[in-house]
């Protein structure tokens, strides 16, 4: 019964890569002039003489940012557009907001479109908050009457009452972003297009934005197209996920969490290694020669794709010992987003009740990674083997076997924890609340 708000048919957008460089008239002139000079100095050469160092139409490389893209969006739907960098998400939004013209295909839209491709476009740092509200709202297509009607709501949402007459260059970045979002959120448009605005701003702001977008889509029945790399936000806000790859739709599902999961595992394909195998006789020694090292899931399969913080992941190290040595330490170091988070060895338990036997023959060591502690992002896990206090058997450095694990998705169920949090770790320790009787 709901009507189609956006209908995209066979949409294509082509860029000529030669056009990406700033165009110089000189180039165009130099080409013509150069050819003339060449003709004059080589009068007997045939016309089609090869000519170097000039731009010509033939070496313009074309690149289709979008190709044969079709899908429709019903009124009131909240569609999350996901996909890797360069998949065409931003180009799609630019075409939908009429900033750039498609090369082929057609888009039909019902209702007014408001697009927020960047927070605070058109803000002028010298102008005050009040002046910028009027200016920015006008840029976004609001009439003065509409601005006046929504002015208080915008100020209230942004929480900048006290700073209305301060130039926005003195605003904190948080205030700046809140004000910019507030203006866009109060546009009376039927379709709202939002690109990565949540990437900026603090947790409080993100929650407010999500709340506002939820409100406009639920209560006011507005259609939302939302592009984000933040899978937590997508699964929380959207009712449908459309995944783009190289300008095509590769996945379109109403089961958002399933879509997000598929995207995350697909996006891992060409990325990081999750298992290392000794290609021959690397690191060969009598104490411990590593054969296999990797991160594995509950079923013992190498982890594929990103994991969220609720997953359970193990490190396994397989190797051969010829001469057992009690000082042999086998373990790994975990670098979270580039910084060393911790090191762990099988000898960590030595001296306690759980002390392991000295390694002998072919063994497999297995230990769990405290994934729930890890912050979002890339985790690099590096193999460590040494005779404690004596020498490295697998020296840390460029050749060290390492595998990667990407943590993505929601950190906690809490709406305040949608993105990477400050600090190296994210705790999973409960809080309690005890009512106190007043004195």
């Amino acid at each position: 019964m709901s009507k189609t708000a956006i209908k995209i048919e066979n949409l294509g957008k082509r860029y000529l890569l030669a056009h990406q460089a700033p165009h110089l008239l000189r180039e165009a002139l130099a080409y013509r002039g150069g050819r003339l000079v060449h003709r004059l100095t080589h009068p007997f050469e045939r016309r089609a003489a090869p000519f170097t160092n000039v731009p010509s139409n033939s070496n313009k490389e074309e690149f289709w940012a979008l190709r044969n893209l079709s899908f429709s969006v019903q009124e009131g739907e909240r569609v999350g557009i996901i996909g890797r960098n360069g998949a065409g998400k931003s180009t799609l939004l630019k075409v939908l907001s009429r900033i750039t013209e498609p090369t082929e295909g057609r888009v039909s839209l019902r209702g007014r479109v408001a697009s927020l491709l960047e927070v605070g476009t058109g803000f002028h740092p010298e102008l005050t908050g009040r002046e910028n509200i009027y200016l920015n709202a006008a840029i976004l297509g609001m009439t003065r009457a509409e601005i006046r009607r929504n002015f208080d709501a915008i100020v209230d949402f942004a929480g900048v009452e006290k700073f209305l007459d301060t130039p926005v260059k003195r605003y904190s970045s948080g205030m700046y972003v809140r004000l910019a979002f507030a203006i866009a959120a109060h546009l009376d448009s039927e379709i709202l297009i939002v690109d990565e605005v949540l990437a900026v701003g603090d947790m409080e702001f993100q929650k407010k934005c999500m709340g506002k977008m939820d409100e406009v889509s639920h209560k006011e029945g507005r259609t939302i197209l939302f592009v984000s790399h933040n899978m937590g936000a997508v699964s929380q806000l959207c009712s449908r996920a459309v995944c783009l790859e190289r300008g095509h739709v590769v996945l379109d599902t109403n089961d958002v969490s399933e879509g997000v999961r598929q995207y995350m595992s697909a996006s891992q394909d060409e990325a990081a290694m999750t298992e290392w195998r000794n290609p021959g006789n690397m690191f060969e020694n009598q104490w411990f020669t590593p054969l296999r090292f990797g991160v594995y899931d509950e079923d013992g399969k190498p982890v594929s794709g990103a994991v969220d913080r609720r997953s359970r992941v193990w490190v396994e190290i397989e190797g051969v010992t010829a001469t057992p040595n009690p000082a042999l330490g086998v373990g790994y170091a975990l670098y979270s987003n580039g910084a060393l988070l911790y090191q762990s060895y099988q000898t960590d338990q030595a001296g306690g009740p759980d002390e392991l036997q000295p390694l002998n023959q072919r063994v497999c060591l297995r230990t769990q990674i405290p994934v729930s502690l890890l912050n979002l992002g890339e985790q690099k896990i590096e193999l460590l083997v040494q005779l404690h206090g004596r020498q490295w058997l697998v020296p840390p450095g460029r050749t060290t076997p390492s595998v990667f694990l990407r943590v993505d998705g929601m950190l906690n169920a809490s709406p305040y924890c949608l993105t990477k949090r400050p600090g190296p770790v994210v705790l999973d320790v409960p809080w309690s609340l005890r009512p106190m009787s007043g004195e």
Partner: protein, 279 residues
């Protein structure tokens, strides 16, 4: 923004090479943006300067002093019975307006690049709004002319009420050329250097520092192909009332600025849809 189309149900169809059917209506819809952008330019221009708005008085005043010295005192060109400062200033006024209007509107697209690549609006608003700022400057300078006339106890000709008649072609020419050069400079950045050069050149071939009566009669028509000749002559005629208006120049000026204006809009509209890809 809404647009009724044959597709009935839908308000907006986006297709290659499709121009907005209701170009004029869309401009009217965005008229407030036009004023807001102009208002922003005016506020921002003087916000951080110590003497603020005085700057718009100093520039024409100093140029007038220099022209008076160079042409009136050193070169001793005829002044047609009018105080030389007023002769120069009444030409300075339209020229200054034309040249800064053209300069700012030609640079408007590149300066507003962030807007163009992030938000949709009729692009024509950018060069057009930047002209409004210069119109305000013009009014301020005109006030200065009135003060100057008081100082010299000079009574202007009653024809001064016809001044808007000559103001209009100057605006059309500036906007038309502004459209041409702003659109071209998006694709060929070289054009940002062409405009200042052209304006410098134009200052000397337009009758600003001298009266156009010193041009030999047989070259007069050719000379009047520069649309600013008719405008400047017209301003002098309105203010001084002593000169005889060379009508062919006025006629040419109106026709040529209209042509420049219409062709500018046509060219701008033709390539405006690709701006975002080049900025």
């Amino acid at each position: 923004m809404t647009e009724k189309t044959v597709d009935g149900d839908f308000d907006l169809i986006i297709e290659p090479h499709r121009t907005t059917a209701d170009f004029i209506r869309e401009l009217i819809h965005y008229r407030e943006l036009f004023f807001f952008l102009a208002w922003r330019d005016i506020i921002v221009r003087y916000k951080q300067t110590a003497i603020g708005i005085v700057w718009s008085l100093i520039r024409p005043l100093l140029s007038m002093v220099i022209f008076t010295l160079v042409f009136g005192r050193v070169a001793k060109l005829p002044s047609e019975g009018v105080p030389y400062p007023i002769l120069v200033y009444s030409a300075m006024l339209p020229w200054q307006y034309f040249s800064s209007a053209l300069g700012t509107s030609a640079a408007s697209l590149l300066n507003g690049g962030a807007l163009v690549s992030k938000i949709y609006f009729p692009r024509l608003i950018l060069p057009a709004a930047s002209i409004l700022l210069n119109a305000v400057d013009f009014l301020i300078s005109f006030g200065l002319l009135c003060v100057l006339m008081l100082c010299y106890r000079f009574i202007p000709s009653p024809m001064i009420i016809l001044l808007p008649l000559f103001f209009l072609p100057a605006t059309l020419a500036a906007l038309g050329l502004g459209c041409w050069f702003s659109a071209l400079s998006v694709k060929y950045r070289d054009f940002q250097f062409v405009v200042p050069f052209m304006l410098q050149f134009g200052l000397f071939i337009s009758p600003v520092g001298f009266s156009s009566s010193i041009i030999p009669e047989r070259l007069r028509l050719l000379y009047s192909l520069n649309p600013m000749v008719g405008v400047i002559d017209g301003f002098r005629w309105c203010i001084q009332g002593t000169t005889v208006l060379y009508l062919p120049a006025v006629f040419l000026s109106i026709v040529i600025s209209l042509l420049v204006f219409l062709s500018g809009i046509w060219f701008f509209r033709r390539i405006e849809r690709s701006f975002a890809d080049f900025i």
